[in-house]
Subunit: 418 residues, 2 copies
């Protein structure tokens, strides 16, 4: 197989299909989504048989239990995928929405219309549900998709892709609206990252290694999500019971997510009061604490935090703690070490809250709320294709609108420029 | 001079200054802008003396008259620059604006706050007014700026930069909010394009060669503007007098601008009626016509348009003309050859207008208006830093908002995720 030529063909077909999809009526796109959901349920036995091949290969290759778990298309997993597709069908169609249409002194009327980006390339690791989720989000937002999943999920991905094809066909949309790369050859990824003529944006979903490789190699813009080193700052004017509840929830509600708390900052004025109470809660949950010298002075037996701790996304029951002089020092710490994902202040003081909101340069900045709220569903986007830690284009949770662009539309009546 | 170290220092200082500027109050930024305007007028004799050094060097190096003209800081040019700064001061401050703040079922309140990008690098050619314009737009939008002008304007740019410094100082803002690269060494551009750790976006302003070089070399996202191959399609249901007026204005109001008409498409049903009348108007203006065979059959003496003509931005009194069967063929031509800048349909038919608006994938799509309206001032942006032909982030004329990003803000009252 000539990988280069194959990928060129994939790109070219995607671009053509994208033009048709950009003009598709909302009802057509929704019909495709519902039909895909129907197919996932109707073909569940076959999907699970295909999935079993991947699981067997995974076990043969010594894949970790957690990885095998993510790879499994259980009845529940298929039902969740189908439900996700129906939810995306229910979302308002962002395409074609015209906003801010206004008359100008020249007499022309100017507004902006939301339009698809064109072709979205998605590179992901073992979760086969991404095949359906990403295809559905791109479909609804009018973008053609090129999907490149992990080789360990190839049978599952192909089977899901055939359900997607059934949906496209039923709706009368071109098959190339969603293409799953047919080869497991790693060279295909490199080729995909250089399809500048056809692909408008690349979205990698997976571990840091994948995302860094994609960012470095791609000549196409990348919407990327690197670390989530999130902070909670407990101000000396915080309501301490709420501060403790939020600091506990932000760390322990789930350990492996990017919006999980990794470093707790506590104002010196309340550290002696709040830290022992919090440490008892964390101990109950089995969270290891690593503190600055002031923290260690308050919490006997607490390990020492090193410079490396402030820079680490643990994704584990470990928390680093630093006592700071005041909010200014907390903000300085956050703007130095935060991965600009999500940071929270706990305070009753509105002046401080306002200042923190403005001065912390992160994709989500919160007042008196758990960092765990930072995701597309909680924010009301309806669905998310990822969380962007970039500043350009989309920042924070990326929903349907993040997969679109705005073009200007102008109406006149024969107007000419003087 | 160690260029690499120098540029690293410039980048680091810009990043620090940007953090201060991001939090600056609106009145502080406006004070800086007005003071810069005052300084440009108060120091006009000195600015013109510095400018004279560049003009002399330009003449010695055989710079073309048009280039010397662009380089000249006449009284009028200085007054226009000062007025431009005051207009930017008058614009609403986009920074800190919170939109779509709404309560979610969880009880948290979620919105988006407009924030600066951080540090903007601007690389431009001979017009020294860009030094003041770009600095002002970045300042108002809370971004630190690194400016790299052409070596042929170095004395003028440095003199303008000293006025900018006077404004920053009067407002109590860090000097590094606006830095003009002190060396004319071309290696500085290469270093600037790789300051990923400090610079958030690069904006090249100049000819196609500059923009292509910057796009290829930069490891930082680029807001770029390549060709403007703009189209007017005269539908067979157009009002012909308006169609003729718009086609004439779009081509002849100015020849050298990116929103100038380069290819006229005419529906076969009205070609025999509209083309002779239009050709007479173009002849009066001295516009050379190059037509498809059908055009040539109608306009005797009209030259032949080749494939290359459909792909050419003339920036000159030359126009290519193609007769098309219908709107579908016009759209196909536009989506094949357009540079996705600005394209217009002339028609009375609302169904066709709606279809054209949706199907043409350009940054500005117009109905019954001249392509010449496609700019930031005409659209009401107040000012523009350029026109983007990209799809990600900013598309079309880029004003203050194009220099910003949106972060999520969340308010709770101790809310935790269940």
């Amino acid at each position: 197989m000539d990988i280069k030529q194959y990928m060129q063909d994939v790109g070219q077909q995607a671009k053509q299909a994208g033009q048709a999809l950009a003009n598709a009526e909302t009802a057509i796109k929704n019909k495709a989504l519902h039909t895909i959901a129907d197919a996932l349920l109707a073909r569940s036995a076959w999907l699970q048989a295909e999935n079993a091949k991947d699981l067997q290969a995974g076990r043969d290759n010594g894949l970790a239990a957690a990885m095998l778990d993510r790879l499994t298309l259980s009845d529940q997993a298929l039902a969740t995928m189908a439900e996700g597709l129906r939810q995306i069908a229910e979302l308002a169609d962002p395409i074609g929405v015209i906003s801010d249409l206004k008359y100008r002194p020249s007499g022309i009327q100017v507004g902006q219309m939301r339009v698809p980006l064109g072709v979205v390339g998605i590179i992901y690791e073992s979760r086969p549900n991404v095949t359906a989720d990403a295809a559905a989000l791109c479909l609804k937002s009018g973008n053609a998709t090129i999907l490149r999943g992990g080789s360990e999920a190839i049978h599952s991905n192909r089977a899901i892709a055939s359900c997607v094809q059934a949906g496209l066909e039923a709706a009368g949309l071109p098959a190339a609206c969603v293409q799953v790369i047919a080869t497991t050859d790693r060279a295909a990824v490199g080729e995909l990252l250089r399809l500048d003529d056809y692909v408008d944006v690349i979205i990698p979903r997976g571990g840091k290694g994948l995302i860094e490789r994609v960012s470095q190699e791609s000549s196409i813009p990348v919407i990327k999500h690197l670390d989530g080193i999130c902070h909670v700052y407990i101000d000396d004017e915080a309501e301490l019971d709420k501060a403790i509840a939020v600091a506990l929830n932000a760390k322990t509600q789930r350990y492996g997510t990017c919006n999980t708390l990794e470093t707790l900052l506590v104002a010196a004025g309340v550290a002696a009061e709040v830290l022992p109470a919090l440490a008892a809660c964390y101990a109950e949950k089995g969270v290891e604490l690593r503190g600055c010298p002031q923290t260690q002075a308050i919490l006997s037996g607490c390990g020492a935090a090193t410079e490396a701790d402030w820079q680490t996304e643990y994704l584990a029951p470990i928390l680093s703690i630093r006592v700071v002089d005041d909010m200014a020092q907390a903000i300085e710490h956050i703007n130095t070490y935060s991965s600009q994902h999500t940071d929270t202040i706990m305070t009753r003081n509105i002046t401080r809250a306002r200042h923190f909101l403005r001065a912390v340069d992160s994709s989500s900045v919160m007042v008196n709320a758990s960092t765990r709220f930072a995701d597309g569903f909680e924010y009301g986007l309806g669905a998310e294709i990822g969380i962007s830690t970039d500043k350009l284009h989309a920042r924070g949770p990326v929903g349907l609108e993040g997969l679109t662009s705005m073009k200007y539309v102008v109406f006149g009546d024969g107007h000419i420029r003087a």
